[in-house]
């Protein structure tokens, strides 16, 4: 059993009141909150250790470098990567995918090649590939989903072929909570020599990931969905693939030697980290990984499953409510609509009851279009949520129905 009361006490923001009511935060899939350990790690870094990294011989520069590289090692262990040379710090998942689509895409894609994504993707795993295809003459192909929000595996097998160069898929759908069979899909792609990228933004918050067991070439995630800071994220890239990629952004830290005649680039992973990085963000991410990693992950999974089951059961009793996305074994996310009440009105009314949910298209407009909806309301559950909070959500929906239904 997860000691949720103890966990909640570690999150200062959870004692806030919103419009006079206790905060019920059900928007962790957009951005999770931070435990005290993460906040303290960031302040501690700025109060005691800050300087620029990888330069200078003074004490602070060495301390900052040690903390920054220490965080990289924590990420390596968290993902079970073979080496820290495979861990590139970026701003977040979006930047990670853009890096791959631009650097790998520009050197590996050409006319006739195909990039395969699914219908469930977040815009961050659609637009960079559209841009890469437009630049290189490659074609973007989309694996369909069914009404439950499950990716059609038969269609996937049929679409995967000799022209496929890249398979880029979500680990977990942000809009619907569908967990994709990434291991099987990656394995099928690898058999044909297809390069693979997994968007893990919604994957890592639900439990540790082993990139070597998964077998993908790229795995990306964001710090802020893992109880860490915003503005920091990770691109894991298999060394053999990363070593072949041309540098992306140019600048300081990514070079060994610069003259006007030419430049020698730095080794991995620094070749892909131009400019002063988000040092405090990396330190905060390291603290978040320490904090999250220390939880009992079987208990986390059990707790999230309990919340999801309770929410599903109670929401189905709300008159006029339809769940959107009902894939078996999905993550702790419920997307829904209520007849006659637009999601944005729901969002405003729930907020007045202290309940924070996400409303809108969730940066997944093709998913909305598939279900012929302009928007949905989405509640997402994290380690600090309780069944009492699920009940508060359902009660607040009653207020909305009374007012507008």
């Amino acid at each position: 059993m997860l000691d949720v009361a103890k966990i909640r006490a570690e999150f200062p923001i959870l004692s806030r009141k919103i419009r006079g009511r206790p905060l019920v935060y059900l928007d962790s899939a957009a951005s999770a909150q931070r435990p005290r350990a993460v906040i303290d790690a960031i302040s501690g870094y700025y109060e005691q250790h800050h300087s620029n990294v990888h330069r200078g011989v003074h004490t602070l520069s060495q301390e900052a470098t040690d903390l920054f590289e220490g965080a990289r090692e924590k990420v390596r262990r968290f993902l079970h990567a073979a080496s820290t040379r495979e861990v590139v710090f970026v701003r977040g998942t979006t930047e990670a995918i853009n890096l791959v689509a631009q650097s790998w895409g520009s050197s590996q894609l050409g006319p006739g090649d195909e990039v395969l994504i699914t219908w469930l993707e977040h815009h961050a795993n659609i637009v960079p590939w559209q841009q890469a295809c437009a630049r290189t003459g490659a074609t973007l192909r989309v694996i369909p989903i069914d009404r439950q929000g499950v990716v059609d595996q038969q269609a996937f097998r049929e679409m995967l072929g000799p022209r496929t160069r890249m398979l880029a898929i979500s680990h977990v759908s942000n809009a619907l909570g569908t967990v994709l069979p990434v291991r099987e899909m990656v394995a099928a792609a690898r058999e044909l020599g297809v390069t693979t990228l997994v968007d893990g933004a919604q994957g890592v918050p639900h439990g540790p990931v082993d990139v070597q067991a998964l077998g993908c070439d790229f795995y990306c995630f964001s710090g802020h969905k893992l109880y860490g800071p915003t503005g920091i994220g990770v691109l894991y890239a298999r060394e053999a693939v990363l070593a072949q990629m041309p540098p992306w952004q140019g600048g300081g830290d990514m070079i060994l030697n610069v003259s006007f005649e030419g430049t020698t680039y730095n080794e991995l992973p620094y070749r892909f980290e131009a400019g002063t990085p988000n040092i405090a963000g990396a330190v905060g991410l390291g603290a978040a990984i320490d904090w999250f990693g220390a939880l009992d992950h079987a208990a986390v999974a059990g707790h999230e499953a309990t919340l999801l089951a309770h929410a599903t059961e109670r929401l189905q009793q709300v008159p006029g409510l339809s769940l959107v996305g009902t894939a078996p074994g999905k993550a702790s996310v419920v997307s829904f609509t209520i007849d006659g009440i637009h999601p944005h009105d729901l969002g405003t009314i729930l907020d007045s009851e202290g309940v924070a949910i996400r409303t809108g298209h969730h940066c997944a407009m093709p998913v909305m279009k598939f279900f012929d909806l302009p928007a949905t309301a989405r509640a997402s559950f994290a380690v600090y949520n309780t069944t009492t909070e699920v009940d508060a959500l359902v009660d607040a929906l009653g207020v909305a129905r009374e007012m507008l239904g």
Partner: protein, 148 residues
């Protein structure tokens, strides 16, 4: 602090449930399409003119209660008005929606029911989409406008 009932006043709830002047005019002298990409709200405005006067107006779209009620209230308010009168009305409505500390408007009639929106900055664009779309229709820009 603003109460929810100040946003969802009876007039708003009524116009959301039973929008006035809903639908499309065919033929129309002017029309425009409006999008609020943030919410996915969409709205079509069609107009029939008599010289400088809006003789008839219809609105049709997908949106929240604020956006639907605002379009319905607007359609009632602008029918029979000249371009210049509509322009002046839009300025007053815009001020009412956006100036959080400004004076409460007078002489706006039922449109004043939207005054509560100013306490909810995230919802201002819901209320103003119809006005921007009407402006585009009147200007003869029969194209898509966006609140972003």
């Amino acid at each position: 602090m603003m109460e929810l009932r100040d946003l969802y006043r009876d007039v708003i709830v009524d116009h959301n449930r039973n929008p006035r002047n809903a639908g499309r005019l065919d033929p129309a002298d002017h029309e425009a399409h409006g999008d609020n990409p943030l919410c996915g709200d969409q709205l079509d405005i069609t107009l029939q003119m008599e010289g400088d006067i809006i003789r008839d107006i219809r609105h049709q779209g997908k949106g929240c209660a604020i956006s639907t009620a605002s379009a319905s209230l607007m359609s009632e308010a602008v029918k029979g008005k000249s371009r210049q009168e509509v322009e002046s009305l839009f300025e007053q409505v815009h001020a009412m929606l956006t100036q959080a500390n400004g004076p409460m408007p007078t002489g706006l009639g039922k449109l004043a029911a939207l005054a509560g929106v100013r306490e909810f900055p995230a919802r201002v664009k819901c209320a103003s989409l119809c006005w921007h779309t009407l402006n585009a229709a009147l200007a003869g820009r029969g194209r898509t406008i966006s609140t972003e």
